[in-house]
Structures are given as C-alpha cells and as structure tokens.
Amino acid sequence: MLQAKDTKGDALVVMENAGIKRADRWLVRGIDLTVRRGEIVTLIGPNGSGKSTTAKTAIGVLSPDEGKVQRANPLRVGYVPQKVNVDWTMPLTVKRLMELTGKLPGEKLEAALVAAGISHLSGAAVQSLSGGEFQRALLARALAREPDLLVLDEPVQGVDFSGEIALYRLIREIRDRTGCGVLLISHDLHVVMAETDTVVCLNGHICCRGTPESVVASEEYRTLFGSRASELALYRHQHDHTHLVDGRVRLADGTIADSCGHLHDHSHENISDA
C-alpha cells in the first residue's frame, strides 16, 4: 500500500488536444493533460473557464468533440461532482450513499467514514447533513471505492477554512497511502498549491501549467486572476510547505527540510527563475 510520493507511476488519463463543443461554442479546446498514479493535478481558472468540463471529459462523462482521451483499462474512478442534490423524498442514509455505485466490504466502508471524520453520521439521512458534512460523505464514498483516480470538483465548497485545510490534508494522506492519482478542481488555490504536483491554469484553453511556484510566477496566471493573483501569491508563502509531526517541513517540491525559514528567502528568486 505504501508508495513514496516521488515515484510517479503510469498514466491513468491522457488527454490530447481534447475539445468540447456545445451549440457551436467551444467550452474548452486544445486540452493536453496527463494524470499519473500518485500525482495530484489541480485545475484552476475563473468561473466558466471549463474546469468541470475538462474533468468530466477526462473520466468519460463527456466525450470529446475533437482530440483524444485515453484512459487506463481498467480504471476505477471515484468522483465527487461539484453539485449533488438528493431529493428529500428519497430515504438515503450516509451508509446507503456509500454503496450507491457498488457494494463495499463493511470494513472498507467503516474505514472511509472514519478517514473522512463522519463515522458517527453513518445512520443519518443525507438530507440532514450540513454542507461540510455532506461534502465529507461524498468524499468518503469516493474513497471507499479505493479508486485508481480520484476526481474532486471543488470538494471544499460549503466547508469553513479549518475544515478546508483538514479536507485537503485528508486528500493528500489518501494519495500518499493508496498511491491513487488525484484530479482536483479548485478556485481557491492558496491551500491546494502546497499539496499539488502540477497546476493547470484554464480559461477555455490551457493558459499555463507547471509547479505551483512557476504558475504563480507566470505572466498568464497574473493576467487571468488580475488583482487576486497577488493575493494568492501571498498565501503561497504560508502554505507552500507542510509542517510534519516531527517538526520538520516538507517543501512544495516534496523535499524535507529542517525549517521553512530559508525557503521564504529564496522563493522570490525561484519565481524569477521560473
């Protein structure tokens, strides 16, 4: 089960020049994107930039109008869509929701609920959950399947800031433990940045891509996000490393350091290098 973070495995999804058209308008076009086993890829971009469309195309919910999408076969997908509305007339407990698309062994179901921190809610009706709890339930459901590829469309919506950090930590832990690939959609990237291997910046097409540092530094990113770009860059200083339990620090590039102090001194150089 244990896979080191830096041994990136086989490609799970490869998109080549993929485009999706609706009513003669291209929603996204020219998308080249690869998600590998053990890798976290984050899609960012403004509203309507085609993030969800790209993710849905990657997992085959939409089929591309041009270009190619190849998926590993077999590919077990765990999907948390942007919006899920369960009609109140359907009696659905969290436990039953977990087995929505396939039966699960009891212990895996339990383990996923514990990992998502909602094991006490397994008998609750999904309609009675708060936004954050429901989001966790959806995440637990996707996790319990032990997917090869976890696709999360804005998984932290309706979750407060501390819950947000906890959710991202959980996603990283799962990746570290199971070695699955993660395709994450976000518009608040200041927390995501730290955990992500590749950031892809979308606006109908791919504006820029790379490590979080290089994307933040890029001209295209600044143009796309305007004044918010600097705000996000500021956050980056706080979150581009992770404090480990033993007091050491994991930097954004995955290396382990004794402290985070020196990184801040050099980060501006990194930006200009990129």
Binding site: K56, I59, G60, V61, R76, V77, G78, Y79, P81, V84, V86, D87, T89, M90, P91, L92, T93, R96, L97, L100, T101, G102, R145, V151
Partner: protein, 266 residues
Amino acid sequence: MLDDFFVRAMVAGIGIAIIAGPLGCFVVWRRMAYFGDTMAHSALLGVALSFLFDINLTLGVFAVATLASLALLFLQRRGALSTDALLGILSHSTLALGLVMVAFMSWIRIDLMGFLFGDILAVSKSDIGVIFAGGLAVLAVLAYIWRPLLAGTVNPEIAEAEGLRPEAAKLVFMILMAAVIAIAMKIVGILLITSLLIIPAATARRFAPTPEIMAVMASLAGALSVSGGLLASLQFDTPSGPSIVVAALVLFLLSLLRLKMQPAGG
C-alpha cells in the same frame, strides 16, 4: 373463485399495485409525475389506434406510450422548448387525438368512461394472466437495473463516471412505465394511473429508512388502497378507478397524521 368479477378485479388490482409501488418511487424521486401523466394520456391514442388497426389493446397502448416517452426524450435533447411545455403539448395533444379518433370510429361502440376511469367489470381471466406475467417481467427487469437507475437518480454523473450506465437504465425505466400503464389501464383508468404510482410512494416515504424498503412499502400501500377502493366501489356503486385513488388519498392523509404524532410518541 376467479369466476366472480369482483375477485378478478381484486386480484388484478393488487397485482398492479405491487408492480406500481417500486416504479412509483422512482417517479417521485425523479420528479416525473407529469411525465407519467403524459405517458398515461397517450394511452387513449393507443386505444384508438388499436381499434383502428385491430391489434391487441395492451400491446397498442404499450407501443404508443413508449413512443410518446421516446418522442419526449428526443425533443428534450433538441432543447427547443422547456420540458414542462413539451409535456403539456404531448400530454394533451395525444389525449385529444385519441378522443377525436374514437369519435370518428362510429362503427365500434367504445366505453370511453371505462378507459378513462377504469372498469372492474372489464377484467377477464386473461387480463389477470397478462398482469401477473407482465408484472413479474417488469419487476425482474427493474431489479436488474436497480443500481444504475438509483445511482443515476441521485447523480447521473457519479453513476456514469464510476462505470454504470444511467442513461440506458433510464430508457429501460421508461419502457417499464409504458408497460405498467398498458396493463393498469383497465383497472384504474387512463386519467388516474399516475396517482397509483405516486400516492402510495408518497405514503411510504414517511416510514421507510432506505430506498428499497420504500419500494416494498409503496407496493403494500398500493395493495391496501386497491382493496379498500374496490370494496367501496362495490358498496357505493362508484367507478373503480376514482374509488381506488380516494382510498390511496385517505391512506396518505393517515400517514401524515402519524407523522404529526411521532414527536409526542418518541
């Protein structure tokens, strides 16, 4: 025993209620009540066409109801009008077409009221055979597509992404609806079939902890409504369809009462 018309109606009606329960749950969950109505209304066009071309009534109704649902799916995809408007157009135009065609066919005596509101006298032994054979087939197919249909009802994208085929399940579900309308038409009548789908499911919602239990309880609530309604219809000489629906309504209202009393009890 089946020689008695009332026993035949009772057996047929309970059979239909058992089939309608689980399907009705999906109609409620997917908010397809008006859709079901449209398919049921198109049944009268099916009746008229069956008489015109001298084909089996149940088959004719089944075919036309299926076509109506496929036409709706097609028009929805084209996206020219809202689903609501499309349903309104299809629902009433098929009903009107049926009525006009029946009026033209002066050479046949058609008991229009019987088709619209149900006629317990019309149930034959072979009808019972159709209901139980057809019903068993409908329930078997529904059990087979249960998981993709349920997952697609909660969220079609999750179902699709995780390897199920919710669109195919939805299509099969439409065909099952058409089948139930075709075999239930004689008992409840075209105008009231949807209520036998919806009201027992709504009643069951109050008591069911899972979708599966809700489906079974909807069947039970439906069977109770049919028995009560038919007994009342015999007693008061009222048409069978409306009597069954009134019985279902009474049961639903009682379930609301139980809901109100729950906090005090628990």
